[in-house]
């Protein structure tokens, strides 16, 4: 029996495997009918202990488009977690019903515990402010489709870089590609955690921390905006003080490159003005579409299913 693969952290995948997923995602678009029943009789459980729109629905849409079925819950309150059941017990139970599990949990490291308790593949759909590897796969597919490459570019990450799990995972992923410079744009209180800086330093990455989005703008090839996440603050006053730190509008884009790619994992609150949506450089809804394609490829990969030639 082959070893069970999980996706807890983006580094669980090699860059060759990520390339392979991107290829399959593109093939799914090109040859959609070849994938329609490829996961027939397979079940995906989506266990979302924390709210989600894109991640959960794109996972469910992905499995349904592959001919499989889905089961699960969309909030902790509609599961036995509300009665005090542990992650360990929930996963051991669901592992009896599903072939693969995608989960989101507010506590960091919950998917590691889950992976220790079952023999079906676990996909981390976000664990607190820690990691969000499937968003990163989405981001990489988006960048590849827009830029045609994943190397040699300046990536600006802006907003809540401390609790922004999508930021942490994207940095870990892009560290492995040649010629990437990170411009980390945030208030001092929301800078990336030390463990992310340690990894950047260990890999010899080029990175700078700045507070001004306007000053950083001209050199960016990618601008990755993030929301200041109210749910990650223990203190409401801190949230209110920091929530409007960055608001991207057309005026701020005046000095940006013509081929800038503007990304956002969504949901947004007010950090990207809606007037930017019509700018051809805005890619965040395209990103959401990419999310379904790459999650289809990921489900196939983790289940060990390949399209017949």
């Amino acid at each position: 029996m082959s070893e069970i693969r999980n996706l807890i952290n983006i580094t669980d995948l090699t860059i060759e495997e990520i390339d392979q997923l991107i290829e399959v995602a593109d093939d799914i678009v090109a040859n959609h009918s070849a994938y329609e029943d490829i996961c027939a009789h397979k079940k995906l459980a989506t266990l979302f202990f924390e709210p989600s729109t894109r991640t959960r629905l794109s996972f469910e849409a992905a499995m349904l488009e592959l001919g499989g079925s889905v089961l699960g819950f969309s909030s902790a309150s509609s599961s036995s977690a509300a009665k005090g059941e542990s992650v360990s017990d929930t996963i051991q139970t669901v592992g009896c019903y599903a072939d693969i599990i995608a989960m989101r949990h507010p506590k960091e490291g919950a998917p590691i515990v889950a992976a220790q308790r079952t023999t079906v593949p676990i996909i981390n759909g976000g664990d607190g402010g820690h990691f969000h590897p499937t968003q990163t796969l989405t981001d990489l597919l988006t960048i590849k489709r827009k830029k045609g490459r994943l190397n040699n570019m300046t990536v600006g990450l802006c907003g809540d870089l401390k609790f922004g799990r999508t930021v942490h995972s994207l940095i870990e992923a892009m560290l492995r590609y040649e010629g990437i410079k990170f411009v980390l744009i945030s208030p001092q209180e929301l800078q990336v955690p030390d463990y992310v800086k340690e990894k950047m330093n260990a890999e010899g990455a080029e990175w700078v921390e700045v507070e001004s989005l306007e000053d950083a703008m001209p050199e960016l090839d990618i601008l990755y905006m993030t929301r200041i996440q109210r749910e990650r603050f223990f203190n409401e006053e801190d949230y209110i003080r920091l929530k409007d730190s960055y608001i991207l509008d057309l005026a701020k884009l005046e000095n940006a490159k013509a081929d800038l790619t503007i990304m956002h994992p969504l949901p947004r609150v007010n950090e990207i003005s809606v007037e930017v949506d019509d700018d051809p450089r805005a890619c965040y809804f395209f990103q959401a579409l990419c999310g379904k394609h790459i999650r289809m490829a990921l489900i196939l990969f983790l289940l060990g299913i390949k399209r017949e030639a």
Partner: protein
Amino acid sequence: MNIDGVKNGIVIDHIKAGKSIQVYNLLGLDKVDACVAIIKNADSSKYGKKDILKIDAKIDLDYDLLGYVDSNITVNFVEDGKMVKKLHMELPETLTNVAKCKNPRCITSVEQEIVQQFKLIDREHKVYRCVYCDAEHKVK
């Protein structure tokens, strides 16, 4: 037991002065059915003062635990009154159920039965990170 000489057993030496009771408790020496001596504030040419534990029995020791509590500790094995082996402790690469993660966002903060695990990130500065949430844990 003669305090000066363990006949067949173990001498845990170079314990930081004042830490011998902690080491005694962590190793569960209260449950050892043999003579155990705790020597506090002994003179040390290296550290000024040190503590020593002498155990007149051959018992299994958790070297990771000893290395974590005090990486200056040396463990001497004694047979027929002579030292036959000496081990220098060092910070272990991983810690299992030795320290507790203090990050309130970590899964270990709510599910108590989970094994607490840390990995060594920086030996020089004695920094570990929680394997679940990456929170820092510094050895004091």
